[in-house]
Symmetry: C2
Subunit: 309 residues, 2 copies
Amino acid sequence: MPAFRAGSPAQTAFLGELIDAGLFIETGVPGLYGRNAVFEDVRLRFDDLIRRRALPDHPEPLRFPPLLPRRQLESSGYLKSFPHLAGTIFAFEGDEADAHAQEQRASRHEDWSEHQHMSELVLTPAACYPVYPAIGRRGPLPPGGVMIDAGGAYVFRHEPSGDPARLQMFHQRELVRIGEPEAVAAWRDGWRDRAVALLTALGLDAQLDVAADPFFGRSGRMLAASQKQQQLKFEVLVPIAGEDPTAVASFNYHQDHFAAAHGIELADGGVAHTACLGFGEERIVLALLRRHGLDPDAWPAEVRRELAA
Amino acid sequence: MPAFRAGSPAQTAFLGELIDAGLFIETGVPGLYGRNAVFEDVRLRFDDLIRRRALPDHPEPLRFPPLLPRRQLESSGYLKSFPHLAGTIFAFEGDEADAHAQEQRASRHEDWSEHQHMSELVLTPAACYPVYPAIGRRGPLPPGGVMIDAGGAYVFRHEPSGDPARLQMFHQRELVRIGEPEAVAAWRDGWRDRAVALLTALGLDAQLDVAADPFFGRSGRMLAASQKQQQLKFEVLVPIAGEDPTAVASFNYHQDHFAAAHGIELADGGVAHTACLGFGEERIVLALLRRHGLDPDAWPAEVRRELAA
């Protein structure tokens, strides 16, 4: 079992408010909640706001299910950096006697894991992951590269927590830019400023910061330091519940990491670079609920206007 | 490995057409595909058509992530009936040496399953599953019961196939009725007719049939016969690719199965019944593409009108 991280008193209190208001629906597992129509309406309005703000770039919309081929996770370096966050899909293989034994153990809530075997599938850890092989399979990029709108997609992080802003399954709203290094870096920098302005216009106290991924273990601390020193990751932080602000958007410049892994080449045969921009949709809804109150009908007119389609 | 079911020649050809047209995006695993904007636009229009048709019943919209607590699967009987279709989430537990050993094996595409341990989570097998415990936790039902619109939710079936209509991860558009036995049965019967009319209006050759779930093994054949004999499940079948039509919607009357499992009581303390109605969204899009052609802009005006918001 991964360590359950208890929420702070303020986070626990906010989670209780969300559940009492029906915005979150408990399932019995921390970090896994249903949502009511009020919560989903705000989430989809924010999702559409990003779509509209990205329209001038004419991104190509692609959508992917929340599962990836296991082979892609094996090849991507994810298990080196984030073994603690990954989720793999196991499934039954066996005959009727095995199925009976499995069911008997499971119905008594005993360990039935020996009946389950690793499948070809894993949970998607970040919404941009399926984009790279899909683009790589097309052959060399068109001149100028591509921009993909990967929509609001469910992603998994195995980190059970009492903080309502730390979900195990949540929607990442991702845009991906693939092309010449300078074009990719410029796109990343432009969106960094746009994202802060966009969240500020929603009445949120948005702060930009150089950041690092939650790499695993001791060697991970060195990776994180290097990532920060090279300014490869930025985050936008906003207050939700508790003393420290929470990251609600991140901008990641992968240099040639994903392009090399998936054979993505520039039109002239050079090495492509990639960057992605991800908004944590549930966290942004939570930040808005925390800032403006649990009833979106009573939010300030200017916030409601920003979120109107 | 579950047996891979090869597609028929017609199914294989149709899958090739979908991939060539960019409607499906290959991932390397059969039954797991990305989708382009054209496919998603039709899917969302159909999703919204169901929402609009359900509005007169004033359903309560609830949304759930594509994962369930493992404990619910253990208690629901699913592992007795469908062990072969379930997917469970495993995750890493260990220190840096374990993580290193796992990563080394994985990067060579060797077996790394021993480093993965069963988590508290499984993939959602049907979109109505999270609804029952959520309603059970509220206490006795209001008079007349409830109707839930569970939206278009991703569900998992572990059945890799070359048939483009048999996906491992797909959207089920579910409505759930919970209440007095007569009210639930009447709701199920009413929607059965509405669904056939709705699909016929989209130009599909929709046929209603008494059906059975794909229960596992020899004892499963008896369960299927009993289910058919009691007329607990109906399906709407439409032609997609191949000789036999494909089920694109199903109507399931569970009697008191889920209500008993999750303690759902009527307002007067009596036993509640439940029924659900599920549309397979990807199958319906595929049926429309097969029937009217791969370019929705060229579909008959009356079909486009039905799908207009």
